[in-house]
Amino acid sequence: MNQPVELQPDETFVLNVGPQHPATHGVLRIKMEMNGEYIVHAETVVGYIHRMHEKMGEIKTYPQFLMNLSRLDYLGAMGYSHCHALCVEKAAGIEVPKRAEYIRVIMVELNRISSHLVWLGAFIMDLGGFTPLLYTFQAREHILDMMERITGARLTYCYIRFGGVSRDIDDQFIQSARDFMPYMRKELVKYHKLVTGNIIFKKRLIGMGHISPEMCRKYGASSGVARGAGINFDIRRNEPYSVYPELEFEVPVYDGCDNMSRYMVRMDEIEQSLRIVEHALDQLPDGPVMPKKAPKNIKPPAGDYYQATETARGTFGVRLVSDGSTTPYRMKLRSPTYSNMHLFDEACKGLMIMDAMAMMGTLDLVIPEIDR
């Protein structure tokens, strides 16, 4: 069906997709050289909302820069703060109470579910189905309400502090989180009925948008892109951090290398995140959520530190070069969609524009996170 056609370069035209385009979920531009509906060559142009977070990291003190991390990715903000906090804690040698670490993991995983729900809705909207978006937003609203009660914000949480979290969770939160589990599982069944089984949806996903494991490796792809290509790679398991070794979950891996595999990986991840939250709530220890002597001035010893975590979008890394002062010497933020998006240029060659857009949807793009 979707056989790559013999492309004649002299019959091409350039189609400018973006910076404002419904399928790009933000300001992303793709210069596509097209032959009819087939893409001959694509060049992604990013940077429209570049804010130079890395420079801000150099001129702000450690606690001040903590707030910036929530602004990288507006859907999965908690995971990014978590990574940054872990990196600075490692560098400065701050002990985190066990309860705080559990709360962080619960929040990160709830945030991951909400992020995946937005992805699911937006992805199906890319394919032309509008209704699932609103269903996923209904489920997401429960998570946001829960998290708002504790963190005080719905998107940019600023919840994680060096050494712990800003506020303890209460019984009401635990109860609502427990009530959420059966609800979300029921919702997932609904999504599978409405979307996964649908013949139109299947026709558009199965076998489309091939991304091979080798290509993943060359570009450093992570998250659903790598796991959809049969690579069992999840930082939570491969390079355990926080309290993940104590929690039960599986890493979903599909080896179809196509849109369907990447879709199924993320759908299964929602389920695994529910498991993690459930398990973490069971094991939640008592105790403080901030260390007794919360550090005021953070001055990590000079050195080069690296920390990577699995955020909702993939491997997020923070490289911190410290010179022993209150501001970092260099703060590198390695964002996952940056690598995933880079791969698009090569992977979309020979695809029709419809399938290319569907493939872009499976990459789970959040543009502020590419541009930083």
Binding site: K60, P63, Q64, F65, M67, N68, S70, R71, T131, Y135, Q138, E141, E148, R149, I150, T151, G152, A153, T156, C158, S166, R167, K190, K193, L194, V195, G197, N198, I199, I200, K202
Partner: protein
Amino acid sequence: MINYFREIFSGLWSLFVGMKVTFIEAFSPKVTVSYPYETLKMCDAYRGHIELIENENGDPNCVCCMSCVRACPSGCISLTGEKPEGGKKKVLTSYNLDFTKCSLCSACVEACNFNAIEHSKEYNLASRNKEDFHFDLLARLRERNQ
């Protein structure tokens, strides 16, 4: 040949399953709030812009220690205070918040050791004019007291 027909019929069936889902949803209650006509109450933890807290005399708790100014990542707080004649403590004379720069991160409230600032629960802030977001918190405090 059988597979061909099976694919057609299973495809058709999947479409009917999907339609059943939306049909059931159509008879479920609404989940939205008609925003300008109904509003929601913000929870206790909600972080709006900051407001000064007053003591029992109606004066602000603030002692002008400047720790909120230092803590702010965006530099949106500016305050001045002076020592009155014969007084010991500094008295706040102005407290300005540039809300256009504020990112509602709560760093100032956490830095405050004197219980002088809190988050308001306001979320209906909109204006065509940038100056409307340069809040004079002291004036707002007096306004509330009246």
